[in-house]
């Protein structure tokens, strides 16, 4: 990126982050359910249902799944601030600023990413205290962060687009529909292979599935990552790279389209 393209990124990023901090009640609301899962539901499921595979720590398996539950939800909720900025807030002022307009949604996306990763750190910390076993390394942590970040950026791009193409009053109902529903089809609580045919194929096409596979690959030392269910190859590293590329494609396409839609709709 050129210096010109980065103009305005810092103040816009800081602004969006400050709003997140000042509306912390919203962030707490978003993270309450995942915390309930990692502290109560996942251990209970683990006890009640046992392991679906001997080598699987189901509690940890579900704890990582909660990251894929939380981040898209956070991204979709962040769209509400975009709607506020556009309809009752500061967007006209930002559009009059001497910056590239694409910087506005991109800076917002990275601020939401920061918030999301902070929520994830809290969630995983609580899960570890409760007894989840994360087996990772520096490389594993990077795989996890990449998977988590690209999933959030993908969904945030979708959120930005929706704030423009749907009426504000219709955006709210879309938050759970888009933020959460795909999660159930992505191997979050059980492997993809146990899903009915057709549904399983649909799951393979979701960024959630690739993100979960990468995150489990990173935090569960390659064990039941789901990568093999996706790619059926022998090399875990190669499968991880392939899923990473898929996620990069989703994120670039989603954010690229979001900035294009933003540019087109803010200049009449």
């Amino acid at each position: 990126m050129t210096a010109l393209a980065l103009n305005g990124f810092g103040p816009l990023y800081a602004r969006r982050l400050a709003i997140a901090v000042r509306t912390a009640s919203g962030m707490i609301g978003q993270i309450t359910t995942p915390i309930l899962w990692v502290l109560v539901v996942a251990p209970a499921l683990n006890t009640a249902l046992g392991n679906f595979r001997p080598d699987v720590d189901y509690f940890t398996y579900v704890a990582v799944a909660q990251v894929a539950f939380l981040l898209p939800f956070t991204a979709m909720f962040a769209g509400l601030q975009v709607i506020l900025d556009a309809n009752m807030g500061i967007l006209p002022e930002l559009l009059a600023a001497p910056i590239r307009r694409a910087t506005i949604p991109i800076a917002n996306a990275f601020a939401v990413l920061t918030v999301g990763l902070a929520q994830v750190a809290l969630l995983l910390g609580l899960a570890a205290i409760r007894g989840a076993h994360f087996h990772t390394s520096v490389a594993g942590a990077l795989w996890f962060i990449a998977g988590a970040s690209l999933l959030l950026l993908t969904v945030y791009g979708v959120a930005e687009i929706l704030t423009v193409v749907v009426r504000p009053e219709l955006y709210g109902p879309l938050i759970p529909a888009i933020g959460v529903t795909p999660w159930f089809l992505s191997g979050s609580l059980f492997p993809l292979t146990v899903l009915p045919a057709g549904i399983e194929q649909l799951g393979l096409l979701l960024p959630w599935t690739h993100a979960l596979a990468l995150m489990r690959y990173g935090l569960m030392h390659g064990s039941p990552s789901g990568l093999h269910d996706l790619w059926h190859l022998g090399s875990p590293e190669l499968m991880a790279v392939l899923s990473l590329l898929v996620l990069v494609g989703f994120a670039v396409a989603s954010l690229g389209l979001a900035t294009r839609v933003f540019n087109r709709t803010t200049t009449l």
Partner: protein, 317 residues
């Protein structure tokens, strides 16, 4: 004038995607330091013009340059040169007045020390220093407007765009704001382009105005000149019921510079100057049984100019 113009608009046209023709080819130039008013009914094209000049609306044809930057070719150059206040309140509700200004300073890449000094000066100048750290949610409408003007002036723009700066404010606050704009103009020397529906107020502050009607400029010039062109004196007759006969009778007097304008039960007739026997003529009108309730002779205002120029469709603000 064209060579000196800070804002140069030439044959500007805009047709929106839905087919609405907002601008049908307008041309005007604003000189350095000038306060220029765009007047016109709702939907006349004022906001579209401001939108083009602030680079949120793309022209269909023609050209517009601000401080030498073409709005289509160098929009960031244009935006670097301008300050804008919008029709609606555009503030970050979650932040204080100071924080709103600081964000603007950062976006305009002002050096921190310069920004701090300028923010302090403008907050003081606008009477907001004591409330600078309060959330803007707690500000009154007038305070918000003053903060927005301070923000628009923060980076010392060459051109200030004020889109309906006093819309929705009570008369006392409006008067205060116009006074502020006039004094800022003296202090900052900034070229100002504004739109307003409050014509008498525009008359007091604008060096020149352009009346836009149906996407075209119907008249342009200093308010006083436009008033003189219409006729410096206006007879206003209020009919008891139907204003039509009174309008016909006034037209038949042959003293008007323009056709009479009928609005409800009132007829307004502009004249170049008041005839010496006007009092007798008006008394005759009342005596002729035309149902005249009252007659008034007054100075023509910019509102009269506006109403005569935009009377064709009756689409007034």
């Amino acid at each position: 004038m064209r060579e000196r113009a800070v804002v140069a608009v030439d044959d500007l046209q805009k047709v929106y995607a839905n087919g609405v023709e907002a601008l049908a080819g307008i041309t005007f130039h604003v000189e350095p330091g000038e306060v220029f008013g765009l007047l016109g009914p709702n939907g006349a094209g004022k906001s579209t013009t401001i939108g083009v000049l602030t680079t949120t609306v793309t022209p269909t044809a023609g050209s517009a340059r601000v401080c030498g930057h073409d709005v289509a070719d160098d929009p960031i150059g244009v935006r670097r040169s301008i300050g804008v206040t919008f029709q609606q309140s555009v503030l970050d509700q979650d932040f204080s007045g100071f924080e709103n200004l600081r964000l603007h300073a950062r976006l305009w890449r002002m050096p921190p020390a310069e920004a701090s000094a300028r923010i302090a000066y403008l907050l003081d100048r606008m009477g907001l220093a004591a409330r600078a750290n309060d959330g803007v949610r707690t500000y009154s409408g007038g305070m918000r407007r003053r903060l927005e003007i301070a923000r628009a002036l923060l980076a010392a723009p060459q051109v200030l765009f004020l889109d309906e700066p006093t819309l929705g404010l009570d008369p006392a606050v409006r008067r205060e704001l116009w006074s502020l704009i006039a004094s800022l103009r003296r202090e900052e020397g900034v070229t100002t382009l504004l739109t307003t529906h409050y014509l008498e107020e525009a008359e007091g502050v604008c060096d020149r105005v352009a009346v836009i009607h149906e996407g075209r400029i119907a008249a342009i010039g200093p308010p006083g000149v436009l008033i003189e062109e219409l006729g410096g004196v206006t007879i206003e007759v209020r009919a008891i019921r139907d204003a039509g006969p009174a309008a016909d009778a006034l037209r038949d007097l042959g003293i008007a510079s323009r056709p009479p304008l009928v609005a409800g039960e009132t007829v307004a007739l502009p004249m170049g100057e008041s005839p010496p026997d006007l009092a007798r003529m008006l008394a005759d009108l009342q005596a002729d049984g035309l149902g005249v309730a009252a007659t008034t002779v007054r100075a023509t205002t910019l509102s009269d100019v506006y109403l005569h120029l935009t009377a064709a469709t009756g689409a007034h603000a």
